[in-house]
């Protein structure tokens, strides 16, 4: 009897702990206004800053501007409509190529002029041609293509655009005569120039991370209540010190006033490094553990990669 009871108790714990969790694409959260303007830019003045985990003082000898938030679904949908009207992109089937693999996807695509190829071990050639920018039929896409128009799902309109390839992020910035930030530009904008106790800032807001500083794995934010521990994207600028329902956030802006430089979505950067085809991403995402939110950590993938946890912002 005792054994049966213990077994039953264990089974109950197991089953309740693993009750069917909703997928990120399955339910839609309510629209939440954060009060942060995704059209705003921050100026980063020229000067040296501590770069990388080991704080190498690195000079950036020019001023530049960078978006205060990542590009939103609404902004990206607007770009797709404008680019479609201008004839810069097409919608339909496109071949996606990585190494020796080629497959067909449906989505917004446009021309990319290709890149220098060194033929190095594991390097893949990025040839000139039509490249997928945004897969319209992939699960998790929050921009819908109906008739001849792209439309962001309203509740997700101020969330970061995701499921966008590096080609798609690059095309967005170039369409408006901007560019993707280099890794150095991104990191300087994230951590500033301050050295505290001999160390540069590990997080945009300071030395330590609290759960309500950013959107990361098991951060228990408002959206994790709906989607479980893995969570979902939060609207851009969500962690700005405001309270949403009963959820208090900390103001987690970087020294230059940028939001979401840690967590929410990984952000494509613009560098094309020699002898490799990978593009680097910075910032960590809502799937990431807090260690990957440290400003020097990076992720990488081929430029054809898209994911529900990857977005971008532009610099100029």
């Amino acid at each position: 009897m005792k054994r049966t009871l213990i077994l039953l108790a264990l089974l109950t714990i197991l089953l309740t702990a693993c009750a069917e969790a909703p997928n990120v694409g399955a339910i839609t959260p309510p629209y939440v206004d954060t009060g942060v303007d995704p059209e705003s830019w921050a100026k980063v003045p020229a000067g040296a800053f501590p770069y990388g985990q080991h704080d190498h003082m690195t000079e950036v000898d020019y001023d530049y501007e960078i978006m205060v938030t990542t590009v939103t679904n609404e902004q990206y949908a607007r770009f797709l409509n404008e680019a479609l009207a201008a004839g810069d992109i097409r919608v339909g089937e496109v071949e996606v190529e990585t190494g020796e693999q080629v497959w067909v996807e449906v989505g917004a695509h446009g021309f990319y002029p290709g890149e220098p190829y060194d033929g190095y071990k594991h390097e893949e050639q990025i040839k000139p041609g039509d490249k997928l920018f945004f897969p319209t039929e992939a699960e998790g896409a929050r921009i819908i293509f109906e008739g001849q128009t792209f439309q962001a799902i309203h509740e997700y309109s101020n969330h970061p655009v995701t499921m966008v390839t590096w080609f798609g992020a690059n095309a967005y910035c170039q369409f408006y005569d901007w560019r993707l930030p280099t890794e150095i530009e991104w990191e300087k904008a994230a951590r500033g120039t301050e050295l505290a106790d001999g160390y540069g800032l590990p997080f945009p807001w300071g030395k330590h991370i609290e759960r309500n500083n950013a959107n990361f794995y098991s951060s228990f934010d408002l959206f994790e209540k709906m989607f479980g521990k893995l969570g979902n994207t939060t609207p851009v600028g969500f962690f700005n010190g405001r309270a949403y329902e009963n959820y208090e956030t900390l103001d987690s802006a970087s020294p230059y006033g940028l939001y979401d430089m840690a967590g929410n979505v990984w952000q494509w950067t613009g560098d094309d490094y020699p002898k490799q085809h990978y593009r680097h991403m910075r910032g960590g995402s809502f799937y990431s553990y807090e260690v990957d939110l440290r400003v020097w950590k990076f992720n990488s993938a081929g430029p054809q990669h898209y994911s529900p946890q990857v977005g971008f912002r532009c610099a100029r």
């Binding site: 080991h54 998790g140 990957d292």
Partner: protein
Amino acid sequence: MQFIRERFDYLFRSTRGLTLVAIAVVSVMTALWGMLSGPMVEWGIRDVVVRLFGMQLVQAEREGRIIMLYHTIAMTIVAVEVYIITEIIPMKRHEQTIINATITAGYLTAVIFGMAFAYWGQNFIFHGLFLLGQSLVFFAGILLSAALWPWKKEYLLPGDSPYAHTKGGVDLERAAFFVMAVATLLSASFGAVTGSYWGNGHETFLAEDLIRNPFKTYLEKAIIGHLHIMLTLVAVAITLVVGRWLKFKGILHKIAMPLMIVGTIVITFGALSVVWVEWAHTTIYVGSVGVMLAALLFVIYSWDMLIKEGTVGIEKPTFWQKIQALLRDPLKFGPGWQMVFMNFTVSGVGIFMAVKLTEIFRVWPHREERITLTGHWHILASLIATIILFYFADRSGLKGKARQWFGWLVIIMSNLAFGSVTVFSMKRLFVSEIEQQNIVNWTMLLTDIGLATVLFVLAIFMVWRLIDLLKAKGNWQTEHRAEIKKAAEDELREQKQKMEELQKTIEEVSK
């Protein structure tokens, strides 16, 4: 006072006691530092532990802290293996004593001061003492290699020995231990040389963060070679130990030992040659074939032996009787099974990754590839630890139901945990990011349950040994007395041998 002196004598002057202390050190470290990661972070326990113990966790130093933690645990595990080797491989009593004393001083110094440096502020005196501790462990390795010298006359085997040997009688199992020890020293020196550049042109890094970097410095490559081969050699050592424990012999032993020797040499050369040559991986594959075949032959032998022993008296055992015999003793079945299981969670995954690297794993984002890499070597290290536990639990005289529960819980729950980790790390093969939530939840939960159970069982085992230590006539005393007796007998035999040699010398010069 007598009470403390006797226990101290057992714990620090007998190999069984020293092994118990080292396992206790690893257990305490696992319990304490295990609270700084995984679900402990989610539950807020990490923050409590950090505050309670006054740890100083600077974000930029995390990788350095982890490297020091790995090193201190590795030093302790190496010490455990060395204690076992000095117990089961014939050597002089004074050799055994000096090796064990040196490595004990070494690993304890490394653990205490290494952890103090890494987690309680960077006091460089502590770092110096951490290096001193590691140097002592290295020195103990030199002494061990000397003691294992396979060409000593007194350790030659007779021509009709069932154990692998050369025509001249050299014991090839002893030679395999010797080769493993020398390879470990060589591989350790790669880490040491690179470590000496730390803060002097070389910066702390985790190898899994560099995998896609086309430009790696010689120092970075040396570290990558070092960490891979050190874990491999720890695995080779435990394979040889369990072979000795389960009396691996006969034709399979005679095939396995040359394979193990050649495999160890080739794989060590391969891993270290990563620094200079492009085709290092090919060499590693060749060496791996030798080592893995030797392990396979051990598994075949040990399972066959268990079946034969368990069906004694049955004229024609049925298939089920054979299975029952095989599974009769989980502690002796466990090492072979964990080696087989390793193929699914470590070797198999590694080979699959190598074959499909460009097609699959390099198409995934770096973080996904990284999870697979770190997952498979953590599993290897943990499986080795379970095999050590099987050995030590058997030597501790675990019997009856306790033996069955301990053995089966460690096997089943470790397999559950590591199987789940493998599924988690390979999830992108069969589930998209959008749909991964359930698989992540399930695999994480099963991993946590599996690991928690294994650690709980280990804790009970350690408490049992602790209670035993408090008894006047506990197992500890039986073990200690048996060891003193064996040491005295060995000493006597050595003295007699010496006296015979001296007598012979006197007679020769008196003619």
